[in-house]
Symmetry: C2
Subunit: 294 residues, 2 copies
C-alpha cells in the first residue's frame, strides 16, 4: 500500500488519537475528525490534518478508519459518509461494537460498492501509543490484505479471524474468557488468604500447573508475584472496569441474540456491574478482588 494514500480517521480520543498519530509517523497522509475540539487540536499537533466534519474528512480519503464508542455511532458515521466516499474506498472500523451492528456496517458498505473490515483492537491506550495493538479482523481476504500494511503501522499483531463480523466475535469471545478467568483467579487468592496460604505459594503452584492463565501470570490481581500488574499500583488501569463491563455486555448481547449459553459470562457481567457500582469506574478490572474480599 502506497504511503501517498490518503487516510481519514474519525474518532480521535484516547485510542484513536495515538493510532492516527502512529499513521502519521509511518508516513501516511491523515485527515481527521472528532466531535471534541480538544481531541482534534491534539491530533493536529501530531500531524493530523483536521477536517470540519466526518464527511469532509472522508470524501478525499482512500481509506476511512472509525474508532468510536458504540455501534450506533459507527453506523451513523458510515451512513453519513458513504454517499460521498471515493469509489473503491476501504472502510475499517476499529471500534469495539456489537456483532449485529458490525454486520449492518458491512452491509451498508457492500450496498455502496465499498470494501469493509471490522478490526477491533486489544492492547489499550498503551498499545495504541506504542503501536503494539492486536487487530482482530473480519472481512474478505481482499479487504484484509488491503488493510494489513496500514494496520501494521498501529499494531504488532494483525489477525484475520474470518468473514464480516469475525473480528468483533473474536474480541468479545476472548474478553469474555478474560473477564471470567480474572474473577476465577481473584476467588482463588481470596480463598487462599482465608486458608492461610500465601499469595506467592498459590502463584508458584498455579502458574506452573493447570490453573495457569494470563490473568494470573501476566496480570496478577494481588501485589508481588508480577511487579508490572495494576495490583502493584493500587489498581490504576490498565484495563478500566467500565471497558471490561462494556465488552462483557457485548458478549451477553451476542449470546442472547445468537442463542448461546454463557452462564459464567452472565455471572461475571453481574459481578463487574456490582464492582463498578462500588465506585470503581477509575479502577482496573482486576481490582474486583477487593469486592470479593469484603
Amino acid at each position: 500500500m502506497s504511503k501517498t494514500l490518503s487516510i481519514a480517521f474519525i474518532g480521535l480520543g484516547n485510542m484513536g488519537g495515538p493510532m492516527a498519530a502512529n499513521l502519521v509517523k509511518a508516513g501516511f497522509q491523515v485527515t481527521g475528525f472528532d466531535l471534541s475540539a480538544s481531541h482534534l487540536d491534539q491530533a493536529k499537533a501530531q500531524g493530523v490534518a483536521p477536517a470540519s466534519s466526518a464527511q469532509a474528512a472522508a470524501k478525499v480519503a482512500d481509506v476511512v478508519i472509525t474508532m468510536l464508542p458504540a455501534g450506533k455511532h459507527v453506523l451513523s458515521v458510515w451512513q453519513d459518509i458513504l454517499s460521498t466516499t471515493k469509489p473503491g474506498a476501504l472502510l475499517i472500523d476499529c471500534s469495539t461494537i456489537d456483532v449485529e451492528s458490525a454486520h449492518a456496517a458491512h452491509r451498508l458498505a457492500t450496498e455502496h460498492g465499498l470494501t469493509a473490515l471490522d478490526a477491533p483492537v486489544s492492547g489499550g491506550v498503551g498499545g495504541a501509543q506504542g503501536a503494539t495493538l492486536t487487530f482482530m479482523c473480519g472481512g474478505t481476504e481482499l479487504a484484509f490484505s488491503m488493510a494489513k500494511p496500514l494496520l501494521e503501522a498501529m499494531g504488532k499483531k494483525i489477525v484475520h479471524c474470518g468473514e464480516a463480523g469475525a473480528g468483533q466475535a473474536a474480541k468479545i469471545c476472548n474478553n469474555m474468557i478474560l473477564g471470567i478467568s480474572m474473577i476465577a483467579v481473584c476467588e482463588g487468592f481470596a480463598l487462599a488468604e482465608k486458608l492461610g496460604l500465601s499469595h506467592q505459594a498459590l502463584f508458584d503452584v498455579a502458574s506452573t500447573s493447570s490453573g495457569q492463565c494470563w490473568s494470573l501470570t501476566t496480570y496478577c490481581p494481588v501485589p508481588g508475584p508480577v511487579p508490572t500488574s495494576p495490583a502493584n499500583r493500587d489498581y490504576q488501569p490498565g484495563f478500566a472496569t467500565p471497558l471490561m463491563l462494556k465488552d462483557l455486555l457485548l458478549s451477553q448481547d451476542a449470546a442472547h441474540s445468537a442463542g448461546a449459553q454463557t452462564p459464567l459470562g452472565a455471572r461475571a457481567t453481574e459481578l463487574y456491574q456490582r464492582y463498578l457500582e462500588t465506585g470503581a469506574s477509575e479502577k482496573d478490572f482486576s481490582g474486583i478482588i477487593s469486592m470479593l474480599r469484603s
Copy 2:
C-alpha cells in the same frame, strides 16, 4: 533418605497402586494395604509386600503414606495406626481431602509425637504411572525435607506450600481456578460457533492474548487446535468430571467454613453437577462444552 527405610502405603487404587509401584522401582521397601483384594494383588505383582491391615503395614514402617478417597477415610486410618506406629515415623497423606480434615490429621499426628505432611497431587493416573505427579505439600520444613526424596520417586515437581493444610489449600484453589476457566473457554467456543467464528480463529487469537489459559492452550475443549486434549478422543478422561466436581465441592466447603466469597466457583460447581447428572461420569470435565451447546 536411605532406601532401606520401610514404607507403608495405604490405599492402592488407580493412583496409589502405580505410586507404590514407583517407590518399589526406585528401590524402597514398600508394604501395602488396600481393602480391595484385587488392588492388593496388583500391587503385589509390582513388588509391594501385602499386609493384612493398615495397622499391620504401618507398624513396621518408617514412613506411612495414605492415598484414600476422602477426609473421613484418612482420619479413620491414621487413628487406627497411630498407637502402633514406630516412634518418629513420618505420615504423608497424598489424598485430596477437605482442609479441615487435613488440619485434624496433622493434630492427630502431633498428639502422638509424629511428623505429618499433607501432600495432595495433580497429574492424574498418567502422572501416577509415569512418576510425573506434582505434590503440593503442607507441613514443617523438617517434614517437607524428610518427605521430598521419597516424593521425588513418584513425581516431578515437589512444592512446599506452607504449614499444615497448605498443600490441600493450594490444590483446591488451583483446581477451582481450573474448573472455572475451563467453563469460560467452553462458553467462548460455544459463543464463537453461534457467531460463525471458527475454533481455530478463536484459538489463534485467545491463545496469544489475554484469554490465554491452560484450559485453552494445553487442554483445549474442542477437537483440532491441541491434538493431545481429550476433546480429540470423545472426551475420554483425562480428568474425569466426578473428580473435578469433588475438588470444586471441597473448595466450596472450604470457602463456606472460612467465610470466603467464590461466586463463580459456586456457579461452576452447580454446572459440573448438572453435567454429571446428564450421564457424564466417564467423561472428561472439558466435555461440559456439550452441555453448554445443547
